[in-house]
């Protein structure tokens, strides 16, 4: 290993050439993957120049004329853009406030379950919906919360009046709650895995010492388990906040309808809607600019979150 290291720090051009030749098969292995990244990840970055151009179909990305910051100026006067920007932040914050603690609480509860088999069973059940697409889950929940759905029928047993005014899917007042609840239903179980792994990593001798000192179970959870996973919780929260601009395109796109656009349209759905929603539009410049606006903020936030996480001694990449 040590000799390898010194070889890989070449002193001259011939050494470097030799080194590259010696490793030629590794470069060959990288050929296909790099072609993939260049074509499907970096060519679109080249296309970002459309944010500063007037897109013309016959002239393509490169040939279309530059127009400076016109698209960005248009954003400041486009009311729908503002609504989408605001909704992106609000929905993400709701998800963090109401959704983030759920997997932690669930993990603490799952961990305390007395029977091993039952613990595995609940974990398996709760994790399952994560592996379904939002198209499938939208089918399940639109039916349940819809007009002839089981939720409305349950409500009718309790209060017929509430049921006649049932409007969960199309009401501006309740749609965001609907989003948060269905998201928790789908993802909370999956979210417990990382916390359960962290709990499993806590030194068992702490629990033994606490037992000898006469701690009851709640006290052990409070004084050992929670402090033991606090590091992971903080990092997860930090990264979650870093991704605040990703407010859940897949979910919202499959669940929302025009009546709730004012409360549920986020930047991603807005860009899709104005470009592909009413037949393919030819105005590619403005939506590109909106996308760029979102991605720049996104990037800055994630980098900040990662930097803080790294400073706290964690590998920020994940």
């Amino acid at each position: 290993m040590a000799t390898n290291r010194s070889l890989s720090r070449p002193h001259g051009r011939t050494d470097l050439k030799k080194e590259i030749w010696r490793n030629r098969y590794f470069y060959l292995m990288l050929l296909l993957p790099m072609a993939f990244f260049i074509i499907f990840k970096y060519l679109p970055l080249y296309g970002l120049q459309l944010a500063f151009k007037e897109y013309m179909l016959n002239k393509g990305i490169t040939g279309s004329p530059w127009i400076g910051f016109d698209h960005f100026k248009r954003m400041t006067v486009e009311p729908e853009f503002f609504v989408a920007f605001k909704n992106t932040i609000i929905i993400s914050l709701y998800r963090i406030i109401f959704g983030f603690p759920v997997p932690i609480i669930l993990a603490l509860m799952i961990n305390e379950v007395y029977f091993n088999r039952f613990r595995r069973f609940t974990q398996t059940i709760l994790t399952f919906p994560h592996f379904l697409s939002w198209v499938i889950v939208s089918g399940l929940v639109l039916n349940m919360f819809g007009d002839s759905g089981v939720i409305k029928k349950l409500v009718a047993l309790y209060s017929p009046e509430m049921a006649t005014n049932w409007n969960m899917l199309y009401s501006k007042a309740s749609f965001r709650s609907f989003l948060i609840i269905t998201d928790i239903w789908k993802e909370a179980g999956w979210g417990t895995i990382i916390y359960l792994a962290a709990i499993a990593g806590i030194d068992p001798s702490y629990y033994e010492a606490a037992t000898i000192d006469g701690c009851n179970r709640l006290q052990k959870v409070w004084h050992i388990t929670i402090p033991g996973i606090m590091g992971i919780i903080v990092i997860q929260l930090l990264l979650r906040v870093g991704w605040v601009m990703e407010a859940g395109f897949d979910q919202i796109f499959n669940l929302y309808t025009p009546p709730v656009y004012p409360v549920a349209d986020i930047l991603d759905t807005y860009v899709y809607r104005i470009t592909f929603g009413r037949g393919v539009s030819m105005d590619m410049g403005f939506p590109t600019a909106v996308g760029l606006f979102k991605n720049v903020i996104n990037f800055a936030l994630i980098m900040t979150a990662n930097a803080i996480a790294r400073r706290a001694g964690h590998d920020g990449i994940i």
């Binding site: 379904l132 697409s133 399940l140 990382i194």
Partner: protein
């Protein structure tokens, strides 16, 4: 895995938790809560299966359906008579199989090459990780793939989704943990780099490869977004996208019926739920048997403590 073998030499068998604990009232309450939560996850699936097996008229009229009074298969018969379902299944199977092979090939090659201390490695790694955090957004993505002529081709749902960087980094991390002495001894025996990868590294990594092949397969089966962007012809759409239209667009089914095919009187929620059940069937069937792989992915690389 490498980590685990490392630890085992120092391992003193300590019971994980004090198991000589009596079953208390708190345990009972916890089991009740967890049962209710599990039930709340199961119920939407039960509801979907239930709705798909009763006539639409019965479903709408009954105040609360908990058990089917009579089971009918008409909804499933209708779904399987609907020609687009078969196109959708065919397309999705093709995308899943071809896409998983393609993704695994790229992922393994990339992950292995990145474990080597070759000139330019840091730069390549930076280029790859950067794509996790910054993208061109949907419009340039659409124009580029459109410009490559992939529109209306099944490859538009395979080629652009080659490497999931997150998965790739975890696999790469795992490769790093394989003792280098194994590779060195193979090298002394005259094995080339590709031979080492295929004969030494891959066989040692089967569980993690299986896990990520499964994740890729699930991702491809669930693919609808690329189809939405790039596939205009309904015959080329993946199953998920066909399902999406059945759910969202009340006119879709009747517009897509073959001439002479009769529109059923059971049309509505029951048909939709039958389509949902058909679409999630493969994942539901695999999940109980491959649980271990489904649940292990995140912990393989994420938590290093």
């Amino acid at each position: 895995m490498a980590d685990a073998t490392h630890k085992s030499s120092l391992d003193i068998k300590v019971p994980k938790r004090n198991r000589i604990r009596r079953f208390s009232i708190g345990d009972a309450i916890l089991i009740i809560i967890m049962s209710l939560l599990s039930l709340s996850v199961i119920l939407p699936f039960y509801n979907a299966v239930l709705v798909s097996m009763v006539p639409q008229t019965v479903y709408v009229r009954s105040p609360l359906l908990l058990w089917p009074k009579e089971v009918i298969w008409d909804n499933y018969r209708f779904i399987f008579d609907f020609r687009l379902i078969w196109y959708g299944i065919g397309n999705s199977v093709f995308i899943t199989v071809a896409g998983t092979l393609y993704s695994m090939l790229l992922t393994v090659l990339c992950a292995y090459a990145l474990t080597k201390d070759i000139p330019g490695r840091r730069f390549v790694r930076f280029l790859i990780v950067f794509t996790m955090y910054f993208s061109g957004g949907i419009i340039p993505y659409f124009l580029i793939i459109n410009g490559l002529g992939l529109t209306n081709s099944l490859w538009s749902m395979i080629l652009p989704t080659g490497i999931n960087v997150f998965y790739m980094l975890i696999v790469s991390n795992f490769f790093t943990g394989i003792p280098p002495s194994l590779e060195e001894s193979a090298k002394i025996d005259g094995a080339g780099d590709f031979t080492i990868l295929i004969r030494i590294i891959l066989p040692l990594s089967l569980p993690i490869l299986a896990t990520f092949a499964l994740y890729y397969a699930v991702d491809k089966w669930n693919e609808w977004w690329h189809g939405l962007l790039f596939i205009r012809k309904v015959e080329k759409q993946p199953l998920q996208l066909i399902l999406r239209q059945i759910i969202q667009d009340a006119q879709f089914l009747s517009q897509q019926l073959l001439p002479g095919q009769e529109k059923p009187d059971v049309y509505g929620d029951s048909i939709k739920m039958a389509a949902v059940v058909v679409t999630m069937f493969p994942i539901m069937m695999l999940y109980p048997f491959l649980q271990r792989y489904f649940l292990s992915g995140l912990t393989l690389g994420a938590v290093k403590e």
